[in-house]
Symmetry: C2
């Protein structure tokens, strides 16, 4: 009965098809730049049919963003306070690189939203996202205090991991244009970025 939990398989599948198509369009054009025509064409459906499954263009966008945040925060959530500090952070970096490589459209959807002032995500950022960062920043700070990693600001450490990993998804066309052909940007980025944090976090003598 509910709009968010359709009963039949066809309904679920059509919703999925539309969301998949909309992800491509929204991430490439932004919310205002995307049109229902483009989304419908990409989904292989008519425009009214798209609006049969979602009440509005806004509703499609909202559904995408809602589903995104959990997946987006999962790598940080997996940072284990009981693990070996440097290994935990490097594993987090590795997961973020993989996410940028495997889900670049999601990264750009997110980037578009934040860039424009997060009009539809502010609550989630100030709530769920900030809470998780606060929690993990405290863990990292305790590792620094115990001398297990270098003394660095944990918030800016997290920001820098986001910045470096997401850059390769968000600015993909620039990276590829500058590197030229014959490169695997994400593979190169992975080892480069791990090197950055390995040196940064080596315990102070």
């Amino acid at each position: 009965m509910s709009k968010t939990a359709p009963r039949t398989r066809i309904q679920r599948q059509n919703r999925e098809t539309i969301l998949e198509a909309a992800l491509g369009v929204f991430s490439a054009q932004g919310f205002r730049g995307a049109t229902l025509d483009q989304i419908a064409a990409a989904a292989g459906l008519s425009k009214p049919n798209v609006l049969y499954y979602f009440a509005s263009k806004e509703a499609i966008h909202h559904a995408l963003l809602s589903g995104l945040l959990d997946n987006w925060l999962a790598p940080l959530r997996a940072l284990d306070p009981a693990g070996e500090p440097l290994a935990e952070i490097l594993a987090y970096v590795r997961r973020k690189v993989e996410i940028s490589r495997d889900f670049p459209r999601e990264s750009r959807l997110f980037a578009n939203e934040i860039l424009q002032g997060a009009p539809r995500m502010m609550a989630a950022i100030e709530g769920e996202l900030k809470a998780l960062v606060d929690e993990k920043a405290a863990v990292i700070r305790s590792w620094s205090a115990a001398g297990q990693i270098a003394a660095v600001d944990p918030y800016h450490l997290i920001f820098s991991i986001w910045a470096l990993t997401q850059h390769y998804a968000d600015f993909d066309v620039q990276v590829r244009a500058v590197l030229g052909p014959g490169h695997d940007p994400f593979a190169e980025a992975g080892s480069f970025i791990e090197g950055v944090f390995t040196k940064l976090l080596a315990p102070d003598p």
Copy 2:
């Protein structure tokens, strides 16, 4: 006579007023999201009057992007092959942090453009920007080869400088939301990022 070099002072000033207003609107909404109404309102002019000074919305956007690239590349252009390697790179980092702090709207305008596949900037990126990066990457590579700085991939070094510095302008609302009040993001970012590259580039033993 030329459209790009108006004669009177009033003409120059109105063009400037429009560009200033348009920078705010385009950087916050993207090209498609921005409307001439918003730009005209922000400039304190009527919509037809805006179109008296610029042939089209596209023309305003183009004028902004054209003026942007040179300023954007200036910090890298100033990297001196004859200087002291580590100091040169750290000075470059510092200039980029200052540009992000002082020109965040320009950074977001650029980010919007790249994020959406650089439809209006591809030529400049493949041309002028790539040429400059190639040139400076060669300089950095020679410093590494001479053992004056650590052996790092110069292209990804430059990407990482861009990523870290621009993140604070482009994702400003997220950074401030996570840090909470009582912070000066750009000041903190400046020292954090310099620390990152100081450790990364310390010559290999």
